[in-house]
């Protein structure tokens, strides 16, 4: 493709000293997208719109890369490790374009005092935002080093090469380390857009599956998580809250809790209450005593109807996503269907945690939030400090799949620390607090209608989606729980939709397929009956599920193969390649077909129509007595553009398949009018080992030199659809409302 060619040409053009510079093409596709996928605050201002990725907002090279006299390289990113392996991938990108071994690259992740602000680590944007920035910043630095060496030797830059070990070399055997070369120049200069990128044919690090740098420590008990941090003089805190968001305990005997042995203080700020103790177990014991009191509801009752009834009763702002008109043959067959998803919990295995210390007028907060810079904004407003007096530092926490309690707990910890100057405060939420108080993934509803003509061409496509906002990321004190509890509370900001092409509830409601007469409408519901925010893939989970189930429903009605129907309506060659690769590896042509027990199904999407392409097929076997579905095997193909770490991509897709299977087949946050009733793993079951597929294969279609495409959320929708389609194929039952649970499958089977 053109970008590949252009990249190579630009390098050659530059190295030959020619004035001809071929326009750098990697940025064009990403231009116009929002840092962090449009979640969180507005993000930093764009000051250099022609530069790639986050160089747009932070164009000065030494904001990204510094090289010390020994040739050690420090790379700064505003993105954070969430368990997705981004630390290792960004090290690979920097190492490749600097042409140094990855072992000399030290990566600093989001820290408000040290790194660029790149908005949130969300929306599968880290490779596009930060990977592109670091790639091009590194190429700029290497270009400057080469020029410096050329100046020293008084030769043309084309006469200088690098050896992959951190040395500049000349054909006569002359070498100079990056350290001394860097000492002679300033990296405090603005990046240029056309610094030569390395030729993909000569890659040493990108495209190899470098072992993750963080894994050894995690296997041996090294302090790898925020939860493992211990600061001198640290105290342990627990917040004293009702059983779920929108409740508080009626009356609490604060004096009794304060007087428990080992309790240092009960911090009270309006309705915000926390107990602080020398020992963690003491704080937990005090919390348990506090929880003996009856609770009251402080917010309107939780909804009692099903998802569809609840959402349709809310006032809607209708947003037209697509409205096209084309002349077609007459429709001969029409299928209408409605699909839904309940409210889901993020379910991080480690409940959210934060450390905070207020000392010498400065509040320092260690957080595993996806938005380190937003934590600074939130905390500054909450505790009444100027932003420059709040220092937020990212430290990895337990796996993160969207807005869990991380932001809330960081605000909680800061509020406690403010009351106890000089003492570091460690606060971890309890399991039931994470289930009860975190923002949920929104419940959603879709209604689709599509028609085929006599030749099995789709002639019309209608898709309506009802959803609350998925982006309630806190950017001020009103966005966190504590902001509503303090004596002078901050108002909760009104939720807003994320505009397309990223979208939120509308994400991936615009089919990538080449379809005529499309009407896609987003019924945006700003009033939120439950506290909700971003969950991995946002609306794409249900929208892709709906589109891909509808394709199978049409294929079945029209008597055509589901893969053929998709390929016949797809023009994007990379999308076709992903689907056919999946089909070849799965053995689609000879797949087990519905015999009442066994069957196969597929799903496809390009995430946001901008990110990675992903197709998933699976073979299932249904136990008709119990309704349980065994996934015998799943096969995925993914095109993430230039693959930096193929195994990293496989790991993310494998994980996304399993997590989406869990969401789709089992999960549902339950609630009664007065509180959430899923408060532990028995009331909110997720898949366990005995539920796992027999095998999962992921095939990565590498695209050397092409732009990075976000991967982490690409499989959520295709997996959900493949599961439903395989069940429909196996047993002729079409389940459209998640969870596609054994109970519902058994009930559907019974009705045959």
């Amino acid at each position: 493709m053109t970008a590949n060619t252009a990249t190579r040409l630009s390098r050659r053009s530059f190295l030959s000293g020619s004035a001809l510079v071929v326009a750098f093409s990697l940025s064009s596709r990403a231009f116009g997208q929002l840092a962090g996928g449009g979640e969180g605050g507005a993000g930093p201002a764009v000051v250099a719109p022609t530069l790639p990725g986050s160089l747009k907002s932070s164009p000065i090279l030494d904001a990204w890369i510094r090289i010390d006299a020994d040739g050690e390289v420090t790379v700064f990113t505003g993105k954070v490790e969430l368990g997705q392996g981004i630390r290792t991938a960004l090290i690979q990108v920097a190492a490749e374009e600097l042409d140094v071994p990855p072992s000399v690259v030290h990566l600093v992740t989001a820290d408000t005092a040290r790194t660029p602000d790149e908005g949130l680590t969300a929306g599968s944007h880290s490779m596009q935002d930060s990977g592109s920035a670091i790639r091009n910043a590194a190429a700029n630095v290497r270009m400057l080093l080469v020029r410096e060496a050329a100046r020293t030797l008084d030769v043309e830059p084309a006469g200088i090469d690098t050896d992959g070990k951190g040395n500049l070399t000349a054909p006569d055997g002359w070498t100079l380390g990056y350290g001394p070369a860097a000492a002679a120049l300033s990296l405090h200069v603005e990046a240029v857009a056309n610094a030569p990128l390395r030729d993909p044919a000569r890659y040493r690090t990108m495209g190899t599956s470098l072992r993750r740098v963080d894994i050894p420590g995690k296997l041996t008990g090294a302090p790898a998580y925020l939860q493992d941090m211990r600061l001198p003089g640290m105290l342990h805190a627990r917040v004293l809250r009702g059983p779920s968001f929108g409740t508080r305990f009626q009356s609490s005997d604060i004096a009794a809790i304060s007087s428990l042995p080992g309790v240092v203080k009960v911090v009270r700020q309006g309705d915000f209450l926390a107990v602080v103790a020398e020992r963690e177990w003491t704080a937990i014991t005090a919390l348990r005593k506090f929880q003996d009191a009856p609770f009251v509801r402080t917010a309107p009752p939780l909804p009692s109807g099903d998802v569809a009834a609840t959402l349709k009763a809310l006032p809607s702002r209708d947003i037209a996503i697509l409205d096209t008109a084309n002349a077609t043959a007459p429709a001969t067959l029409t299928v209408r269907a409605s699909y839904s998803r309940p409210w889901l919990n993020h379910g991080s295995i480690g409940p959210s945690c934060a450390l905070a210390r207020f000392e010498d007028g400065v509040m320092t907060v260690w957080t595993h939030s996806q938005g380190t810079f937003d934590v600074r904004r939130v905390v500054a407003e909450l505790v009444g400090l100027p932003a420059e007096k709040v220092h937020a530092i990212h430290v990895e926490g337990s796996g993160c799949y969207g807005q869990n309690g991380a932001d809330d707990v960081a605000a909680d910890a800061a509020l406690i620390a403010l009351d106890m100057p000089g003492r570091p405060i460690r606060l971890q939420w309890m399991r039931e607090q994470e289930f009860g108080w975190e923002p949920l993934g929104p419940g959603m509803l879709t209604e689709l209608e599509a028609s085929l003509d006599a030749e099995n061409r789709i002639v019309s496509w209608k898709h309506e989606v009802w959803s609350n906002p998925h982006n309630n990321r806190p950017v001020g004190a009103g966005g966190v729980i504590a902001g509503g509890e303090i004596a002078t509370p901050f108002p909760v900001p009104e939720g807003k939709p994320i505009p397309m092409p990223e979208g939120d509830g509308s994400r991936n409601s615009n089919p990538l397929y080449d379809l005529p007469n499309m009407r896609v409408t987003y019924h945006f519901l700003k009033d939120m009956p439950l506290r909700v925010s971003a969950l991995r893939s946002l609306g794409a989970h249900l929208n892709v599920f709906s589109i891909e189930c509808m394709f199978d429903e049409l294929a079945r009605a029209g008597g055509v193969d589901p893969l053929d129907l998709r390929l016949a309506h797809m023009r994007d060659e990379r999308a076709k390649a992903v689907m056919t690769t999946m089909a070849d590896r799965f053995g689609w042509a000879g797949r087990p077909r519905g015999d009442g027990i066994r069957g196969s199904g597929m799903g496809f999407a390009r995430y946001k129509n901008l990110g990675a392409y992903c197709a998933v097929a699976m073979e299932v076997e249904i136990d008709r007595e119990t309704g349980r579905v065994a996934v015998l095997r799943a096969v995925a193909a993914v095109d993430s553009g230039q693959a930096v770490s193929p195994d990293g991509i496989r790991n993310q897709i494998e994980g996304a398949i399993i997590q989406s299977l869990s969401w789709t087949s089992r999960e549902e946050m339950t609630f009664s009018p007065d509180r959430r009733t899923s408060f532990d793993w028995s009331a909110y079951p997720i898949l366990r080992f005995e539920d796992m597929p027999g095998a999962i294969e992921v095939h990565v279609l590498d695209q050397p030199g092409l732009p990075f495409l976000g991967t982490a959320e690409a499989a959520q929708g295709p997996t959900a659809a493949a599961f439903a389609n395989a069940i429909a194929d196996a047993a002729g039952i079409r389940l459209r409302d998640m969870p596609l649970s054994p109970e519902r499958i058994k009930a559907a089977l019974g009705a045959i």
Binding site: L82, I215, K218, G221, R279, Q428, M430, A695
Partner: protein, 163 residues
């Protein structure tokens, strides 16, 4: 009260309330990070350690009941520069995403391999059932346990060769 615990082969004295669960003694008194707080209810396995060779939830065990018992955490499976077989197998298979559950996974798997060095796939899955992973690393964890079993039984001479 003062309690003596045998942790990773060493006698360790701690001063704790008798009802304190072992998890907090390990993390807060002994500075060991391997066992993690996940639920405090024995439902997720992030806190799994070995007690006299059996995998247990450290979040449920009061320290007062543990004097004279042999406690092993993930830190006890290796020497300084020689990781245990399971740790090597997890590294080779890159069997972690966030990794918060992994120390517990390793401790549960170790208890299986200690008594059954050649478990079947079904036995491994059944044995690992109590431990939750949310990132969806299960297939790699299963591969790592099989790899460790193969390494221990001599079927796999080399530690390398994972994908």
């Amino acid at each position: 009260m003062t309690i003596t615990l045998n942790v990773n082969g060493a006698e360790r004295r701690i001063d704790a309330e008798p009802a304190t669960p072992l998890l907090y003694a390990l993390r807060d008194d002994l500075g060991l990070n391997g066992a993690k707080y996940g639920c405090g209810l024995g439902q997720c396995g992030a806190c799994t350690v070995q007690l006299d060779g059996k995998a247990v939830f450290s979040c449920l065990l009061p320290v007062a009941a543990l004097e004279g018992r042999r406690i092993t955490t993930v830190e006890g499976l290796r020497t300084l520069d020689k990781p245990g077989v399971l740790q090597q197998a997890f590294e080779t298979e890159q069997a972690a995403q966030c990794g918060y559950c992994i120390a517990g996974m390793i401790m549960r798997a170790q208890a299986l391999l200690d008594r059954n060095p050649s478990p079947t796939e079904t036995e491994i899955r059944a044995h690992m059932q109590p431990n939750l992973c949310r990132c969806g690393t299960h297939m790699r964890i299963l591969r790592a346990v099989r790899r460790a079993a193969d390494m221990m039984s001599g079927k796999l001479a080399s530690l390398e060769g994972g994908q």
